[in-house]
Symmetry: C2
Subunit: 302 residues, 2 copies
Protein backbone atom coordinates (compact mmCIF):
# COMPACT_ATOMS: atom_id res chain seq x y z
CA UNK A 1 0.00 0.00 0.00
CA UNK A 2 1.15 3.52 -0.62
CA UNK A 3 3.00 5.55 1.96
CA UNK A 4 3.15 9.32 2.17
CA UNK A 5 5.88 11.27 3.92
CA UNK A 6 6.04 15.00 4.52
CA UNK A 7 9.32 16.38 5.83
CA UNK A 8 12.58 17.96 4.88
CA UNK A 9 15.00 17.42 2.01
CA UNK A 10 18.33 19.01 2.80
CA UNK A 11 21.95 19.39 1.95
CA UNK A 12 24.01 18.45 5.00
CA UNK A 13 27.57 19.14 5.98
CA UNK A 14 28.51 16.66 8.68
CA UNK A 15 31.73 16.09 10.57
CA UNK A 16 32.39 13.16 12.89
CA UNK A 17 35.66 11.86 14.35
CA UNK A 18 35.64 9.40 11.44
CA UNK A 19 35.37 11.79 8.53
CA UNK A 20 33.47 14.62 6.91
CA UNK A 21 30.86 14.96 4.21
CA UNK A 22 30.09 18.31 2.60
CA UNK A 23 26.79 19.32 1.00
CA UNK A 24 25.63 15.73 0.96
CA UNK A 25 22.05 14.52 0.58
CA UNK A 26 20.14 14.73 3.86
CA UNK A 27 16.82 15.64 5.44
CA UNK A 28 14.22 13.68 7.36
CA UNK A 29 12.01 12.87 4.36
CA UNK A 30 15.02 11.73 2.33
CA UNK A 31 16.25 9.21 4.90
CA UNK A 32 12.69 8.10 5.55
CA UNK A 33 11.84 7.58 1.86
CA UNK A 34 15.03 5.71 1.07
CA UNK A 35 14.51 3.34 4.01
CA UNK A 36 10.82 2.82 3.25
CA UNK A 37 11.58 2.19 -0.42
CA UNK A 38 12.96 -1.24 0.54
CA UNK A 39 9.35 -2.24 1.18
CA UNK A 40 6.95 -0.03 -0.75
CA UNK A 41 6.69 2.90 -3.17
CA UNK A 42 6.79 6.24 -1.35
CA UNK A 43 5.17 9.59 -2.10
CA UNK A 44 7.35 12.45 -0.88
CA UNK A 45 6.10 15.96 -0.09
CA UNK A 46 8.83 18.52 0.63
CA UNK A 47 10.60 21.51 -0.87
CA UNK A 48 14.01 22.06 -2.43
CA UNK A 49 15.62 25.13 -3.99
CA UNK A 50 16.69 25.65 -7.57
CA UNK A 51 20.23 24.72 -6.56
CA UNK A 52 19.29 21.15 -5.63
CA UNK A 53 21.47 18.72 -7.62
CA UNK A 54 19.66 16.73 -10.30
CA UNK A 55 21.50 13.51 -9.42
CA UNK A 56 19.86 13.45 -5.98
CA UNK A 57 16.45 13.62 -7.65
CA UNK A 58 17.50 10.83 -10.00
CA UNK A 59 18.56 8.72 -7.02
CA UNK A 60 15.20 9.15 -5.28
CA UNK A 61 13.25 8.40 -8.47
CA UNK A 62 15.40 5.30 -8.93
CA UNK A 63 14.20 4.15 -5.50
CA UNK A 64 10.54 4.38 -6.63
CA UNK A 65 10.01 7.60 -4.69
CA UNK A 66 7.21 9.63 -6.31
CA UNK A 67 8.35 13.28 -6.42
CA UNK A 68 5.11 14.85 -7.68
CA UNK A 69 4.78 16.58 -4.29
CA UNK A 70 8.35 17.87 -4.18
CA UNK A 71 8.12 21.61 -4.69
CA UNK A 72 11.03 23.40 -6.35
CA UNK A 73 11.02 26.95 -5.01
CA UNK A 74 13.13 29.87 -6.08
CA UNK A 75 16.06 30.20 -3.70
CA UNK A 76 18.41 27.75 -2.05
CA UNK A 77 17.77 24.34 -0.52
CA UNK A 78 17.58 23.92 3.27
CA UNK A 79 21.09 23.39 4.64
CA UNK A 80 22.25 21.95 7.95
CA UNK A 81 25.81 21.79 9.16
CA UNK A 82 26.86 20.01 12.33
CA UNK A 83 29.35 17.76 14.05
CA UNK A 84 29.47 14.88 16.50
CA UNK A 85 31.92 14.29 19.33
CA UNK A 86 33.75 11.01 19.81
CA UNK A 87 30.77 9.31 21.50
CA UNK A 88 28.50 10.15 18.53
CA UNK A 89 25.49 10.54 20.81
CA UNK A 90 24.58 14.19 20.25
CA UNK A 91 24.51 16.28 17.08
CA UNK A 92 25.95 19.75 17.60
CA UNK A 93 24.60 22.27 15.10
CA UNK A 94 27.10 24.64 13.49
CA UNK A 95 24.69 26.32 11.13
CA UNK A 96 21.11 26.04 9.93
CA UNK A 97 19.95 27.84 6.77
CA UNK A 98 16.21 27.34 6.33
CA UNK A 99 16.24 28.99 2.89
CA UNK A 100 13.22 27.76 0.86
CA UNK A 101 12.03 25.76 3.88
CA UNK A 102 11.20 28.99 5.74
CA UNK A 103 8.09 29.61 3.62
CA UNK A 104 7.20 25.96 2.94
CA UNK A 105 3.59 24.84 3.09
CA UNK A 106 2.91 21.23 2.20
CA UNK A 107 0.49 20.78 -0.69
CA UNK A 108 -0.63 17.23 -1.43
CA UNK A 109 -0.96 16.47 -5.16
CA UNK A 110 -4.16 14.90 -6.52
CA UNK A 111 -4.70 11.42 -5.09
CA UNK A 112 -2.17 11.72 -2.24
CA UNK A 113 -4.92 12.42 0.28
CA UNK A 114 -6.13 8.84 0.15
CA UNK A 115 -2.75 7.31 1.11
CA UNK A 116 -3.46 4.70 3.83
CA UNK A 117 -0.12 5.26 5.60
CA UNK A 118 1.11 8.75 6.43
CA UNK A 119 4.32 9.86 8.13
CA UNK A 120 4.73 13.41 9.39
CA UNK A 121 8.49 13.72 9.71
CA UNK A 122 10.09 16.22 12.05
CA UNK A 123 8.81 19.63 10.90
CA UNK A 124 6.82 22.47 12.48
CA UNK A 125 3.72 20.90 14.09
CA UNK A 126 1.57 23.56 12.43
CA UNK A 127 2.71 22.22 9.06
CA UNK A 128 2.07 18.67 10.27
CA UNK A 129 -1.54 19.71 10.98
CA UNK A 130 -1.80 21.31 7.53
CA UNK A 131 -1.07 17.88 6.12
CA UNK A 132 -3.68 16.24 8.33
CA UNK A 133 -6.31 18.58 6.92
CA UNK A 134 -5.51 17.24 3.43
CA UNK A 135 -5.72 13.50 4.12
CA UNK A 136 -8.79 11.30 4.16
CA UNK A 137 -9.00 8.77 7.01
CA UNK A 138 -5.69 6.95 6.60
CA UNK A 139 -5.19 3.57 8.29
CA UNK A 140 -2.27 4.94 10.28
CA UNK A 141 -0.74 8.38 10.77
CA UNK A 142 2.61 8.64 12.55
CA UNK A 143 4.43 11.74 13.71
CA UNK A 144 8.03 12.49 14.62
CA UNK A 145 9.25 15.66 16.31
CA UNK A 146 12.27 17.17 18.07
CA UNK A 147 13.20 19.14 21.18
CA UNK A 148 13.00 22.45 19.26
CA UNK A 149 9.22 22.06 18.74
CA UNK A 150 8.71 20.74 22.28
CA UNK A 151 10.33 23.87 23.64
CA UNK A 152 8.95 26.43 21.18
CA UNK A 153 5.63 25.08 19.93
CA UNK A 154 4.34 22.88 22.71
CA UNK A 155 0.71 23.81 22.21
CA UNK A 156 0.67 23.10 18.48
CA UNK A 157 2.65 19.94 19.02
CA UNK A 158 0.21 18.74 21.67
CA UNK A 159 -2.67 19.30 19.27
CA UNK A 160 -0.88 17.52 16.42
CA UNK A 161 -0.05 14.57 18.68
CA UNK A 162 -3.70 14.28 19.73
CA UNK A 163 -4.60 13.79 16.05
CA UNK A 164 -2.26 10.91 15.16
CA UNK A 165 -2.12 7.16 15.87
CA UNK A 166 1.58 6.72 16.47
CA UNK A 167 4.24 9.02 17.89
CA UNK A 168 7.96 8.46 17.38
CA UNK A 169 10.31 10.28 19.74
CA UNK A 170 13.74 9.74 21.11
CA UNK A 171 14.19 9.04 24.79
CA UNK A 172 15.10 12.54 25.97
CA UNK A 173 12.31 14.09 23.90
CA UNK A 174 9.73 11.74 25.45
CA UNK A 175 10.92 12.59 28.96
CA UNK A 176 10.90 16.31 28.15
CA UNK A 177 7.51 16.35 26.47
CA UNK A 178 5.98 13.92 28.97
CA UNK A 179 7.45 15.90 31.87
CA UNK A 180 8.89 13.04 33.90
CA UNK A 181 12.32 11.45 34.35
CA UNK A 182 10.44 8.13 34.44
CA UNK A 183 10.11 7.09 30.81
CA UNK A 184 7.02 5.02 31.58
CA UNK A 185 5.26 7.89 33.34
CA UNK A 186 6.19 10.25 30.51
CA UNK A 187 4.88 7.69 28.02
CA UNK A 188 1.54 7.35 29.82
CA UNK A 189 1.08 11.12 29.67
CA UNK A 190 1.81 11.20 25.94
CA UNK A 191 -0.57 8.29 25.28
CA UNK A 192 -3.26 10.05 27.32
CA UNK A 193 -3.33 12.76 24.61
CA UNK A 194 -4.76 10.29 22.12
CA UNK A 195 -2.16 8.22 20.22
CA UNK A 196 -2.44 4.46 20.48
CA UNK A 197 1.26 3.77 20.05
CA UNK A 198 4.38 5.51 21.31
CA UNK A 199 7.69 4.36 19.86
CA UNK A 200 10.75 5.54 21.74
CA UNK A 201 14.10 5.48 19.96
CA UNK A 202 17.05 4.73 22.22
CA UNK A 203 19.97 4.85 19.80
CA UNK A 204 22.36 2.00 20.45
CA UNK A 205 19.90 0.57 22.98
CA UNK A 206 17.28 -0.05 20.31
CA UNK A 207 13.67 1.02 20.50
CA UNK A 208 10.61 0.28 22.60
CA UNK A 209 6.94 0.60 21.78
CA UNK A 210 4.57 1.49 24.60
CA UNK A 211 0.79 1.19 24.38
CA UNK A 212 -1.79 1.51 27.13
CA UNK A 213 -1.44 -2.19 27.90
CA UNK A 214 1.64 -3.43 26.06
CA UNK A 215 5.38 -3.08 25.83
CA UNK A 216 7.68 -4.25 23.03
CA UNK A 217 11.44 -4.14 22.71
CA UNK A 218 13.42 -4.05 19.47
CA UNK A 219 17.12 -4.47 20.20
CA UNK A 220 19.63 -2.43 18.23
CA UNK A 221 21.99 -4.36 16.00
CA UNK A 222 25.41 -4.06 17.66
CA UNK A 223 28.01 -2.32 15.50
CA UNK A 224 31.75 -2.10 15.97
CA UNK A 225 32.00 1.02 13.84
CA UNK A 226 29.57 3.88 13.49
CA UNK A 227 30.71 6.61 11.11
CA UNK A 228 27.78 9.04 11.04
CA UNK A 229 24.55 8.77 13.08
CA UNK A 230 22.76 11.48 11.06
CA UNK A 231 19.36 10.29 9.88
CA UNK A 232 19.27 7.15 12.03
CA UNK A 233 15.91 8.07 13.55
CA UNK A 234 14.32 8.91 10.19
CA UNK A 235 15.71 5.71 8.70
CA UNK A 236 14.23 3.76 11.61
CA UNK A 237 10.84 5.37 11.01
CA UNK A 238 11.11 4.64 7.28
CA UNK A 239 11.75 0.96 7.92
CA UNK A 240 8.88 0.77 10.42
CA UNK A 241 6.34 2.56 8.21
CA UNK A 242 7.57 0.90 5.00
CA UNK A 243 7.11 -2.51 6.57
CA UNK A 244 3.60 -1.59 7.76
CA UNK A 245 2.63 -0.34 4.30
CA UNK A 246 3.97 -3.58 2.79
CA UNK A 247 1.89 -5.67 5.23
CA UNK A 248 -1.15 -3.45 4.71
CA UNK A 249 -2.44 -3.57 8.28
CA UNK A 250 -1.08 -1.82 11.37
CA UNK A 251 -1.60 -4.88 13.59
CA UNK A 252 0.42 -5.25 16.76
CA UNK A 253 2.63 -8.00 15.31
CA UNK A 254 3.26 -5.94 12.18
CA UNK A 255 4.15 -2.92 14.28
CA UNK A 256 6.58 -5.03 16.29
CA UNK A 257 8.29 -6.56 13.26
CA UNK A 258 8.32 -3.09 11.71
CA UNK A 259 10.36 -1.86 14.67
CA UNK A 260 12.90 -4.61 14.07
CA UNK A 261 13.14 -3.69 10.38
CA UNK A 262 13.51 -0.01 11.25
CA UNK A 263 16.20 -0.79 13.78
CA UNK A 264 18.14 -2.95 11.31
CA UNK A 265 17.90 -0.33 8.54
CA UNK A 266 19.19 2.32 10.94
CA UNK A 267 22.14 0.06 11.77
CA UNK A 268 23.13 0.10 8.11
CA UNK A 269 22.52 3.84 7.67
CA UNK A 270 25.01 4.83 10.37
CA UNK A 271 27.83 2.75 8.88
CA UNK A 272 28.62 5.53 6.43
CA UNK A 273 27.93 9.22 5.76
CA UNK A 274 24.68 10.48 4.24
CA UNK A 275 22.77 7.71 2.41
CA UNK A 276 25.90 6.00 1.08
CA UNK A 277 25.36 2.69 2.87
CA UNK A 278 21.63 2.55 2.13
CA UNK A 279 22.47 3.07 -1.56
CA UNK A 280 24.45 -0.19 -1.70
CA UNK A 281 22.32 -2.20 0.75
CA UNK A 282 20.73 -5.35 -0.66
CA UNK A 283 17.55 -7.09 0.45
CA UNK A 284 19.63 -10.14 1.35
CA UNK A 285 21.83 -8.12 3.70
CA UNK A 286 18.71 -6.59 5.27
CA UNK A 287 17.06 -9.99 5.79
CA UNK A 288 20.32 -11.39 7.20
CA UNK A 289 20.48 -8.82 9.96
CA UNK A 290 16.79 -9.21 10.78
CA UNK A 291 17.44 -12.93 11.31
CA UNK A 292 20.46 -12.13 13.48
CA UNK A 293 18.39 -9.82 15.68
CA UNK A 294 15.87 -12.64 16.07
CA UNK A 295 18.66 -14.80 17.51
CA UNK A 296 19.42 -12.19 20.23
CA UNK A 297 16.25 -13.15 22.09
CA UNK A 298 17.05 -14.81 25.41
CA UNK A 299 13.97 -17.03 25.26
CA UNK A 300 15.09 -18.78 22.07
CA UNK A 301 17.15 -21.96 22.45
CA UNK A 302 20.39 -21.68 20.47
CA UNK B 1 23.99 -26.99 42.96
CA UNK B 2 25.76 -24.85 45.50
CA UNK B 3 26.80 -21.29 44.83
CA UNK B 4 29.58 -19.39 46.55
CA UNK B 5 29.80 -15.60 46.75
CA UNK B 6 32.64 -13.53 48.13
CA UNK B 7 31.99 -9.82 48.55
CA UNK B 8 30.91 -7.14 50.95
CA UNK B 9 28.28 -6.98 53.68
CA UNK B 10 27.62 -3.41 54.65
CA UNK B 11 25.46 -0.93 56.46
CA UNK B 12 24.26 1.68 53.97
CA UNK B 13 22.84 5.14 54.39
CA UNK B 14 21.11 6.05 51.15
CA UNK B 15 19.20 9.12 50.10
CA UNK B 16 17.18 9.44 46.91
CA UNK B 17 14.57 12.03 45.86
CA UNK B 18 12.00 9.49 47.07
CA UNK B 19 13.22 8.92 50.61
CA UNK B 20 16.09 7.99 52.87
CA UNK B 21 17.26 4.83 54.63
CA UNK B 22 19.81 4.98 57.44
CA UNK B 23 22.16 2.18 58.45
CA UNK B 24 20.20 -0.31 56.40
CA UNK B 25 21.40 -3.71 55.22
CA UNK B 26 23.58 -3.44 52.12
CA UNK B 27 26.72 -4.76 50.43
CA UNK B 28 27.34 -6.62 47.18
CA UNK B 29 27.33 -10.10 48.73
CA UNK B 30 24.11 -9.35 50.61
CA UNK B 31 22.12 -8.31 47.54
CA UNK B 32 23.65 -11.14 45.54
CA UNK B 33 22.84 -13.82 48.14
CA UNK B 34 19.29 -12.67 48.69
CA UNK B 35 18.58 -12.68 44.94
CA UNK B 36 20.28 -16.05 44.38
CA UNK B 37 18.40 -17.55 47.33
CA UNK B 38 15.25 -17.60 45.18
CA UNK B 39 16.91 -20.43 43.24
CA UNK B 40 19.53 -22.17 45.33
CA UNK B 41 21.26 -22.25 48.73
CA UNK B 42 24.14 -19.78 48.88
CA UNK B 43 27.45 -19.85 50.75
CA UNK B 44 28.53 -16.34 51.69
CA UNK B 45 32.13 -15.31 52.46
CA UNK B 46 32.54 -11.79 53.80
CA UNK B 47 33.30 -9.86 56.98
CA UNK B 48 31.21 -7.83 59.43
CA UNK B 49 32.11 -6.02 62.64
CA UNK B 50 30.94 -6.74 66.16
CA UNK B 51 28.31 -4.01 65.73
CA UNK B 52 26.47 -5.88 62.96
CA UNK B 53 22.82 -6.32 63.98
CA UNK B 54 21.78 -9.87 64.78
CA UNK B 55 18.46 -9.51 62.91
CA UNK B 56 20.30 -9.06 59.60
CA UNK B 57 22.10 -12.37 60.22
CA UNK B 58 18.77 -13.97 61.07
CA UNK B 59 17.30 -12.66 57.81
CA UNK B 60 20.14 -14.11 55.73
CA UNK B 61 19.98 -17.48 57.52
CA UNK B 62 16.22 -17.49 56.93
CA UNK B 63 16.97 -17.20 53.18
CA UNK B 64 19.11 -20.38 53.31
CA UNK B 65 22.32 -18.39 53.14
CA UNK B 66 25.15 -20.37 54.79
CA UNK B 67 27.13 -17.94 56.96
CA UNK B 68 29.97 -20.29 57.98
CA UNK B 69 32.33 -18.10 55.93
CA UNK B 70 31.12 -14.79 57.38
CA UNK B 71 33.92 -13.54 59.60
CA UNK B 72 33.03 -11.38 62.59
CA UNK B 73 36.03 -9.14 63.23
CA UNK B 74 36.64 -6.78 66.09
CA UNK B 75 35.69 -3.28 65.03
CA UNK B 76 32.84 -1.79 63.03
CA UNK B 77 31.08 -3.06 59.91
CA UNK B 78 31.85 -1.53 56.51
CA UNK B 79 29.66 1.53 55.97
CA UNK B 80 28.71 3.37 52.81
CA UNK B 81 26.73 6.55 52.59
CA UNK B 82 25.55 8.11 49.36
CA UNK B 83 22.80 9.80 47.43
CA UNK B 84 21.19 9.80 44.01
CA UNK B 85 19.96 12.75 41.97
CA UNK B 86 16.53 12.90 40.41
CA UNK B 87 17.51 10.73 37.42
CA UNK B 88 18.77 7.96 39.75
CA UNK B 89 21.48 7.00 37.28
CA UNK B 90 24.64 7.67 39.31
CA UNK B 91 25.44 7.00 42.96
CA UNK B 92 27.28 9.89 44.60
CA UNK B 93 29.35 8.78 47.59
CA UNK B 94 29.17 10.93 50.71
CA UNK B 95 31.28 8.73 52.93
CA UNK B 96 32.98 5.32 52.90
CA UNK B 97 34.21 3.71 56.12
CA UNK B 98 36.02 0.49 55.28
CA UNK B 99 36.37 -0.45 58.99
CA UNK B 100 36.77 -4.27 59.28
CA UNK B 101 36.79 -4.54 55.50
CA UNK B 102 40.20 -2.82 55.33
CA UNK B 103 42.01 -5.89 56.62
CA UNK B 104 39.68 -8.52 55.17
CA UNK B 105 41.11 -11.64 53.57
CA UNK B 106 38.61 -14.22 52.35
CA UNK B 107 39.03 -17.65 53.94
CA UNK B 108 36.89 -20.44 52.52
CA UNK B 109 35.54 -22.85 55.15
CA UNK B 110 36.01 -26.60 54.73
CA UNK B 111 34.11 -27.87 51.68
CA UNK B 112 33.49 -24.45 50.09
CA UNK B 113 36.38 -24.96 47.64
CA UNK B 114 34.40 -27.54 45.67
CA UNK B 115 31.44 -25.24 44.95
CA UNK B 116 30.62 -25.58 41.24
CA UNK B 117 29.44 -21.97 40.86
CA UNK B 118 31.49 -19.07 42.21
CA UNK B 119 30.78 -15.35 42.15
CA UNK B 120 33.50 -12.84 42.97
CA UNK B 121 31.50 -9.73 43.79
CA UNK B 122 32.96 -6.27 43.48
CA UNK B 123 36.00 -6.24 45.82
CA UNK B 124 39.74 -5.68 45.39
CA UNK B 125 40.89 -7.91 42.48
CA UNK B 126 43.79 -9.15 44.64
CA UNK B 127 41.22 -10.56 47.08
CA UNK B 128 39.27 -12.02 44.15
CA UNK B 129 42.45 -13.90 43.17
CA UNK B 130 42.93 -15.08 46.77
CA UNK B 131 39.55 -16.78 46.43
CA UNK B 132 40.50 -18.36 43.12
CA UNK B 133 43.52 -19.98 44.79
CA UNK B 134 41.14 -21.70 47.24
CA UNK B 135 38.64 -23.19 44.77
CA UNK B 136 38.91 -26.46 42.88
CA UNK B 137 37.88 -26.35 39.21
CA UNK B 138 34.37 -24.89 39.48
CA UNK B 139 31.99 -25.19 36.52
CA UNK B 140 31.73 -21.42 36.27
CA UNK B 141 33.47 -18.50 37.94
CA UNK B 142 32.06 -15.02 37.43
CA UNK B 143 33.53 -11.68 38.46
CA UNK B 144 32.12 -8.21 38.97
CA UNK B 145 34.16 -5.05 39.45
CA UNK B 146 33.85 -1.24 39.48
CA UNK B 147 35.56 1.85 38.11
CA UNK B 148 37.66 2.26 41.29
CA UNK B 149 39.55 -0.99 40.57
CA UNK B 150 39.79 -0.24 36.85
CA UNK B 151 41.47 3.04 37.66
CA UNK B 152 43.59 1.97 40.64
CA UNK B 153 44.32 -1.74 40.17
CA UNK B 154 44.17 -2.32 36.45
CA UNK B 155 47.00 -4.86 36.41
CA UNK B 156 45.53 -7.05 39.16
CA UNK B 157 42.09 -6.73 37.64
CA UNK B 158 43.38 -7.77 34.22
CA UNK B 159 44.95 -10.87 35.78
CA UNK B 160 41.81 -11.72 37.72
CA UNK B 161 39.67 -11.32 34.59
CA UNK B 162 41.97 -13.66 32.66
CA UNK B 163 41.22 -16.36 35.26
CA UNK B 164 37.41 -16.33 35.15
CA UNK B 165 34.71 -17.55 32.76
CA UNK B 166 32.25 -14.69 32.96
CA UNK B 167 32.69 -10.99 33.59
CA UNK B 168 29.86 -8.71 34.68
CA UNK B 169 30.36 -4.96 34.21
CA UNK B 170 28.20 -1.98 33.67
CA UNK B 171 28.34 -0.15 30.37
CA UNK B 172 30.68 2.68 31.34
CA UNK B 173 33.04 0.28 33.11
CA UNK B 174 33.25 -1.93 30.02
CA UNK B 175 34.06 1.06 27.83
CA UNK B 176 36.63 2.31 30.32
CA UNK B 177 38.33 -1.03 30.90
CA UNK B 178 38.09 -2.04 27.22
CA UNK B 179 39.40 1.37 26.15
CA UNK B 180 36.90 2.17 23.42
CA UNK B 181 33.73 4.24 23.12
CA UNK B 182 32.43 1.39 20.93
CA UNK B 183 30.93 -1.11 23.34
CA UNK B 184 31.48 -3.97 20.91
CA UNK B 185 35.15 -3.11 20.43
CA UNK B 186 35.62 -2.76 24.18
CA UNK B 187 33.88 -6.11 24.67
CA UNK B 188 36.15 -7.86 22.16
CA UNK B 189 39.21 -6.60 24.02
CA UNK B 190 37.86 -7.85 27.35
CA UNK B 191 36.99 -11.26 25.88
CA UNK B 192 40.48 -11.48 24.37
CA UNK B 193 41.85 -11.64 27.94
CA UNK B 194 40.26 -15.04 28.44
CA UNK B 195 36.64 -14.98 29.65
CA UNK B 196 34.07 -16.74 27.50
CA UNK B 197 31.17 -14.50 28.45
CA UNK B 198 30.86 -10.77 29.04
CA UNK B 199 27.60 -9.53 30.51
CA UNK B 200 27.07 -5.78 30.31
CA UNK B 201 24.52 -4.19 32.61
CA UNK B 202 22.72 -1.20 31.10
CA UNK B 203 20.40 -0.17 33.92
CA UNK B 204 16.95 0.65 32.57
CA UNK B 205 18.05 -0.56 29.13
CA UNK B 206 18.52 -4.11 30.38
CA UNK B 207 21.60 -6.24 29.85
CA UNK B 208 23.46 -7.81 26.96
CA UNK B 209 25.76 -10.83 26.86
CA UNK B 210 28.58 -10.80 24.37
CA UNK B 211 30.63 -13.88 23.45
CA UNK B 212 33.18 -14.32 20.66
CA UNK B 213 30.39 -15.31 18.29
CA UNK B 214 27.11 -14.47 19.98
CA UNK B 215 24.98 -11.64 21.29
CA UNK B 216 21.98 -11.83 23.62
CA UNK B 217 19.68 -9.12 24.89
CA UNK B 218 17.70 -9.20 28.14
CA UNK B 219 15.28 -6.27 28.26
CA UNK B 220 14.76 -4.45 31.53
CA UNK B 221 11.32 -4.65 33.05
CA UNK B 222 9.84 -1.14 32.68
CA UNK B 223 8.98 0.51 35.99
CA UNK B 224 6.97 3.63 36.68
CA UNK B 225 8.61 4.18 40.05
CA UNK B 226 12.16 3.47 41.13
CA UNK B 227 12.89 4.39 44.74
CA UNK B 228 16.48 3.26 45.24
CA UNK B 229 18.77 1.73 42.60
CA UNK B 230 21.39 0.61 45.16
CA UNK B 231 22.29 -3.05 44.71
CA UNK B 232 20.55 -3.46 41.33
CA UNK B 233 23.70 -4.83 39.68
CA UNK B 234 24.44 -7.29 42.50
CA UNK B 235 20.81 -8.42 42.50
CA UNK B 236 21.02 -8.96 38.74
CA UNK B 237 24.15 -11.07 39.19
CA UNK B 238 22.50 -13.03 42.01
CA UNK B 239 19.54 -13.89 39.81
CA UNK B 240 21.79 -14.89 36.92
CA UNK B 241 24.12 -17.07 39.00
CA UNK B 242 21.32 -18.48 41.16
CA UNK B 243 19.44 -19.58 38.05
CA UNK B 244 22.60 -21.19 36.62
CA UNK B 245 23.24 -23.05 39.88
CA UNK B 246 19.63 -24.25 39.88
CA UNK B 247 19.96 -25.54 36.30
CA UNK B 248 23.35 -27.07 37.06
CA UNK B 249 24.97 -26.36 33.69
CA UNK B 250 26.22 -23.03 32.32
CA UNK B 251 24.84 -23.68 28.84
CA UNK B 252 24.11 -20.78 26.52
CA UNK B 253 20.34 -21.08 26.93
CA UNK B 254 20.68 -21.22 30.72
CA UNK B 255 22.93 -18.16 30.67
CA UNK B 256 20.36 -16.32 28.58
CA UNK B 257 17.41 -17.23 30.77
CA UNK B 258 19.58 -16.41 33.78
CA UNK B 259 20.00 -12.87 32.45
CA UNK B 260 16.23 -12.50 32.24
CA UNK B 261 15.82 -13.71 35.81
CA UNK B 262 18.56 -11.36 36.99
CA UNK B 263 16.98 -8.47 35.19
CA UNK B 264 13.55 -9.18 36.67
CA UNK B 265 14.93 -9.56 40.20
CA UNK B 266 16.72 -6.24 39.85
CA UNK B 267 13.43 -4.62 38.78
CA UNK B 268 11.93 -5.67 42.10
CA UNK B 269 14.98 -4.66 44.16
CA UNK B 270 14.86 -1.03 43.02
CA UNK B 271 11.21 -0.59 43.95
CA UNK B 272 12.18 0.04 47.57
CA UNK B 273 15.17 0.85 49.76
CA UNK B 274 17.71 -1.76 50.84
CA UNK B 275 16.37 -5.32 50.52
CA UNK B 276 12.84 -4.41 51.56
CA UNK B 277 11.13 -5.41 48.30
CA UNK B 278 13.15 -8.64 47.91
CA UNK B 279 12.09 -9.59 51.45
CA UNK B 280 8.41 -9.64 50.48
CA UNK B 281 8.84 -10.93 46.90
CA UNK B 282 7.10 -14.22 46.13
CA UNK B 283 8.04 -16.83 43.54
CA UNK B 284 4.71 -16.20 41.80
CA UNK B 285 5.47 -12.50 41.40
CA UNK B 286 8.92 -13.38 40.06
CA UNK B 287 7.54 -15.87 37.54
CA UNK B 288 4.85 -13.39 36.49
CA UNK B 289 7.37 -10.74 35.50
CA UNK B 290 9.56 -13.27 33.69
CA UNK B 291 6.53 -14.20 31.57
CA UNK B 292 5.82 -10.52 30.93
CA UNK B 293 9.38 -9.96 29.72
CA UNK B 294 8.93 -12.90 27.36
CA UNK B 295 5.96 -11.08 25.82
CA UNK B 296 8.12 -8.01 25.03
CA UNK B 297 9.83 -9.87 22.20
CA UNK B 298 8.93 -8.39 18.82
CA UNK B 299 9.14 -11.77 17.07
CA UNK B 300 6.35 -13.27 19.17
CA UNK B 301 2.79 -12.98 17.82
CA UNK B 302 0.51 -11.43 20.42
Amino acid sequence: MSLLVVGSVALDTVETPFGKAEECLGGSATYFSTAASFYTPVKLVAVVGEDFPQHHLDFLRGRQVDLAGLQVASGNTFRWSGYYEYDLSTAHTRDTQLNVFASFHPVLPEGYGSCPFVFLANIDPDLQMEVLRQVNRPKLVALDTMNFWIENKRESLTRAISMVDLVVMNESEAREFGGSPSLIKAARRILSLGPRYLVIKKGEDGAVMITTNGYSVAPAYPLEDVRDPTGAGDTFAGGLMGYLALCGEPSMSNLRMGMVHGSVLASFAVEDFSLERLKTLTHDQLRGRVEEVKSFNCFVEE
